[in-house]
């Protein structure tokens, strides 16, 4: 029952997000949320560019999409695989995925890459 509710929530969120990011270009419309950190400090946060990434992905420009946030592009497959284990019925596969992908080393690696990306993108203008 809980899983069913999660499915509905995810489906609604995905449809809404696809519609919004197909209909509006985040760099043109003021409807799309802007980064608080960028507004306050002038430095990009590690998530900056993901909205433009969706927009370009939905409009068939995958390479341009990736260029807005390389880190999010790298992270997307990992997140999708891991998130799918919460939607799929529990099985030895979902257990295996979580045991091997959601470990403390994954958490440490993610934290290290996140900070590295944060510095690099602001230093190199990525």
């Amino acid at each position: 029952m809980r899983k069913y509710g999660l499915w509905v929530l995810v489906a609604v969120a995905v449809v809404a997000a696809v519609w919004f990011y197909y209909r509006f270009d985040p760099s043109q419309t003021s409807w799309s949320p802007k980064c608080v950190m960028l507004a306050l400090t002038g430095y990009k946060c590690p998530g900056c560019g993901t909205q433009r990434m969706y927009y370009n992905l939905l409009h068939g420009h995958p390479l341009k999409a990736i260029s807005y946030n390389y880190f999010a592009a790298l992270l997307a497959p990992y997140l999708l695989v891991l998130a799918s284990t919460y939607l799929a019925p529990a099985s030895s596969y979902t257990q295996w995925v979580r045991r091997h992908l959601a470990t403390r080393w994954a958490a440490y690696t993610y934290a290290a890459l996140y900070i590295l990306w944060w510095f690099l993108r602001n230093l190199l203008g990525l």
């Binding site: 949320p33 950190m37 997140l79 919460y86 959601a102 958490a107 996140y114």
Partner: protein, 185 residues
């Protein structure tokens, strides 16, 4: 030379300190020697500490756990005649909930923490990532309850971060979007 209370509840001995364990004495057995004011648990006698130190909790890996059904192999080897006495050896034994069943590692919920750090709330997401990493560490030490606790914390703070981030974004959309819309029309 120590006297001790044997499994039948009777005084026995005397034996040398280093022979106590071989006679079925455990850390919880009452012992006494001349000069001591009263009968004391062996583990609490300073001189006997080397023989009855509280063993650190073993590092249970799920795959070898089933072998340790409640008492440790060497304790069994020391006291084959004292089976009835063993349930008192709480100092040596793993936590009751750990015995005989394979523990499942709790989900570290790091997927929500990742989502939180990338699009919602960096500070709460970062703390949630930290909690997620602690789940593994606690589990490997055999602290299952603590691992469960970190797992809950990771989920809780990531969820709060995502909810707060969504609220903030929706507010932003309403305020700035409506403003732009009113200028436009």
């Amino acid at each position: 030379m120590y006297y001790y209370i044997n499994s039948a509840g009777q005084q026995a001995g005397p034996v040398q300190a280093n022979q106590l364990a071989a006679n079925g004495v455990t850390g919880d057995t009452l012992v006494w020697k001349a000069g001591m004011s009263q009968w004391t648990k062996a583990a609490e006698v300073a001189e006997l500490q080397p023989f009855f130190f509280q063993q650190p909790r073993p590092n249970y890996q799920p795959n070898y756990q089933p072998q340790n059904q409640g008492y440790q192999p060497q304790a069994q080897a020391y006291q084959p005649q004292n089976q009835a006495y063993q349930p008192q050896n709480t100092g040596y034994q793993p936590q009751p909930q750990n015995t005989g069943m394979i523990q499942k590692k709790p989900d570290n919920n790091m997927v929500w923490a990742v989502v939180c750090t990338i699009c919602c709330c960096i500070p709460l997401g970062a703390y949630s990532i930290y909690c997620a990493a602690q789940v593994d560490s606690a589990f490997r030490k055999g602290d299952y309850a603590i691992a469960e606790d970190w797992s809950r914390k990771a989920k809780k703070w990531a969820t709060w971060g995502i909810v707060l981030g969504l609220i903030a974004n929706v507010l932003y959309m309403i305020i700035y979007g409506a403003e732009a819309f009113s200028q436009f029309s």
